[in-house]
């Protein structure tokens, strides 16, 4: 059962999957890690992105990745508006923990129901020339429907990482969680900075959604399966560390791939949640987080 071929393929699949998971978790890493906003609806935004990509692909034949990128600015604006509402209703009044959390939960529910109302619970897929093809490297399979998203995901993750570490606004975003006052003294408006941060986070959801629907068929409740994975990745990787997010995502991808290969795919969703619970119990600050 444990043939070398099977194991190596499981690892490869896991890595490809993990890279994609990093793209999904990226937005949450920013909001939870840098902004301390617990956007439990993030995976649902990703699903929303999937549907957008589906609609564009279905009606205009545009490649889903391009569709995702094209709509990223719209999602960016959505993220900015979302922060405004969140700030006015919750951050200002100090109600983040109870009401803010529930706000995103309610939002998640509304988006999901909305999608069900308009598109039902059938699975949706996109069509693109590379879906269905597979590269072969000896006995190792690289299904393109996973490889393309992997590449895009890595590029996006790298891009966000560079943005956060090299640009003025990026560093302001990193600073705003650590020292609001210093930021204000530097002349940056913390509210604007946070708005942009949430905008970026939701924009990544647009792209991640497009990638998701390339990898697998999507229906509205799929988002909930990803909540565990995504939070597991962000917590395991350590709050606020993009690099940590990537490493954790790859780890979880590989573990899931192994479980799916050797125990059956129906247990895969439980992996993320299981890892999350274990991490919370043993080392809540994650691998790269500070104690």
């Amino acid at each position: 059962m444990f043939s070398a071929e099977l194991v190596i393929n499981a690892v490869v699949t896991g890595v490809l999957l993990g890279g994609f998971y990093a793209a999904v978790a990226l937005g949450l890493s920013i909001t939870f890690g840098q902004l301390d906003i617990v956007n439990i609806a993030h995976p649902t935004f990703v699903i929303f992105g999937s549907y957008v990509a589906y609609i564009v692909n279905e009606n205009f034949g545009l490649d889903p990745v391009l569709a995702g990128i094209a709509f990223a600015p719209a999602f960016f604006l959505l993220g900015m508006a979302l922060y405004r509402v969140y700030y006015v209703c919750f951050e200002r009044t100090g109600q983040e923990s109870l009401s803010g959390l529930t706000f995103f939960f309610g939002l998640m529910f509304i988006i999901e129901v909305f999608l069900i109302l308009f598109y039902g619970v059938d699975y949706r897929l996109v069509s693109a020339p590379y879906i269905g093809k597979t590269w072969h490297l000896g006995f190792i399979d690289f299904p393109l429907r996973m490889t393309v998203p992997f590449v895009v995901a890595i590029v996006m993750t790298g891009g966000v990482f560079l943005y956060l570490s090299k640009t003025y606004m990026g560093r302001a975003i990193q600073a705003v969680s650590q020292d609001r006052l210093a930021l204000q003294l530097m002349g940056a408006d913390p509210i604007k900075v946070k708005q942009i941060a949430l905008g970026i986070a939701i924009a990544t959801a647009a792209v991640a959604g497009a990638l998701l629907i390339i990898i697998q068929p999507v229906e509205p409740s799929v988002g909930r399966l990803y909540i565990g994975r995504v939070f597991a990745i962000v917590v395991l990787g350590g709050m606020g560390s993009i690099g940590g997010t990537l490493v954790a995502a790859l780890m979880i991808g590989v573990i899931e791939s192994f479980i799916a290969t050797f125990y059956g795919p129906s247990w895969a969703p439980a992996v993320g949640y299981g890892i999350l619970l274990i991490t919370l119990a043993i080392r809540p600050q994650g691998i790269f987080g500070r104690a």
């Binding site: 209703c89 939002l107 129901v113 619970l277 919370l280």
Partner: protein, 306 residues
């Protein structure tokens, strides 16, 4: 409270239209869940996203014990209460030491994991679900549904008594202190972890008990309906709409939201009904975070001081 019980009983004798009992059962079930949720959520300030997990665990405990030992309903309810109380304890021990958000996600995690387990468990029908037979004996009632209605009414009253006792007792004060400022509470001698666990166990037990009769109500159960997201959302929406500060807030929220849902399910559609719940939840959170109770208090204060 006794008056309500008697009134309910008379209702079953008098009314004929079975639909009222169906609808009332659902509303009362929501009430129990809402009151239970509020014990940890409103009193102590810890949000539980996975109410469906506790409910579903109660459902499946009931199914398993009924299938294996054909136990009568009251025992099933007690058993579910115990199982889910333990579940609450386990969840709490693992995560209540950390910030509230981790507890919230953990509850969601547990709900989904339980759903996965139920889907893979052949004994209870796996993902395809299982049928449950309604017993043929109804004692003094005209139909089994009326019996279930009385059962749920009794559970509702139990939940309200528990919540009222907790909120006005020393434990309730401690929970409020934890909700307001956990560190200060701890320094003032409040055993925060212990009280949080007590709340979690109580909440879990009540939710499990609410789930126990459900299989007999619907006669067909599958994991998706047992662990339905709507149950989880209602469990949060009802207290938040009604007002989390008082023990009767969830009751008001349950009655209001429950009624709205029953009406809209019948008149419009059940999908739109889901949307209404979500919109009402978000609407109330953003515009009236203190819920109906809070609004009422504000109006009352305005009237007193012109």
């Amino acid at each position: 409270m006794a008056a309500i019980l008697i009134a309910g009983f008379l209702f079953t004798q008098g009314a004929d239209n079975e639909f009222y009992f169906f609808a009332s059962y659902v509303v009362l079930q929501g009430l129990v869940m809402a009151v239970a949720w509020n014990i940890l959520g409103g009193f102590a300030g810890y949000v539980n996203f996975g109410s469906a997990g506790f409910f579903g665990a109660g459902v499946y405990t009931s199914i398993v014990l009924n299938k294996a030992f054909a136990l009568p309903l009251p025992l099933l309810i007690v058993a579910s209460g115990c199982v889910c109380g333990l579940l609450g304890l386990a969840t709490g021990v693992l995560t209540l030491r950390l910030k509230g958000i981790y507890f919230a996600i953990a509850t969601l995690a547990i709900a989904i994991m339980l759903e996965t387990v139920a889907s893979n468990w052949e004994y209870v029908g796996g993902a395809a679900g299982t049928f449950v037979l309604q017993p043929t004996e109804f004692f003094v009632f005209d139909s089994y549904i009326e019996l279930l209605f009385m059962v749920m009414l009794s559970l509702s009253i139990l939940a309200m008594i528990v919540a009222r006792y907790l909120s006005s007792s020393k434990i309730g004060h401690g929970l409020s202190a934890i909700r307001d400022d956990e560190l200060a509470a701890e320094c003032m001698g409040v055993p925060t972890l212990r009280l949080k666990l007590v709340s979690a166990v109580t909440m879990g037990a009540l939710m499990g008990m609410a789930g126990a009769p459900y299989p007999f109500f619907v006669t067909f159960i599958d994991p998706i309906s047992a662990f339905s997201l709507l149950i989880a959302v209602n469990a949060i929406a009802m207290p938040m709409i009604g007002g989390t500060a008082a023990w009767y807030g969830p009751v008001i929220g349950a009655l209001v939201l429950g009624l709205v849902q029953e009406i809209s399910t019948v008149t419009i559609s059940s999908e739109l009904n889901l949307l209404i719940v979500g919109v009402m939840l978000v609407g109330f959170i953003t515009l009236a975070p203190q819920g109906i109770v809070g609004l009422a208090r504000k109006l009352w204060l305005k009237k007193r001081s012109p």
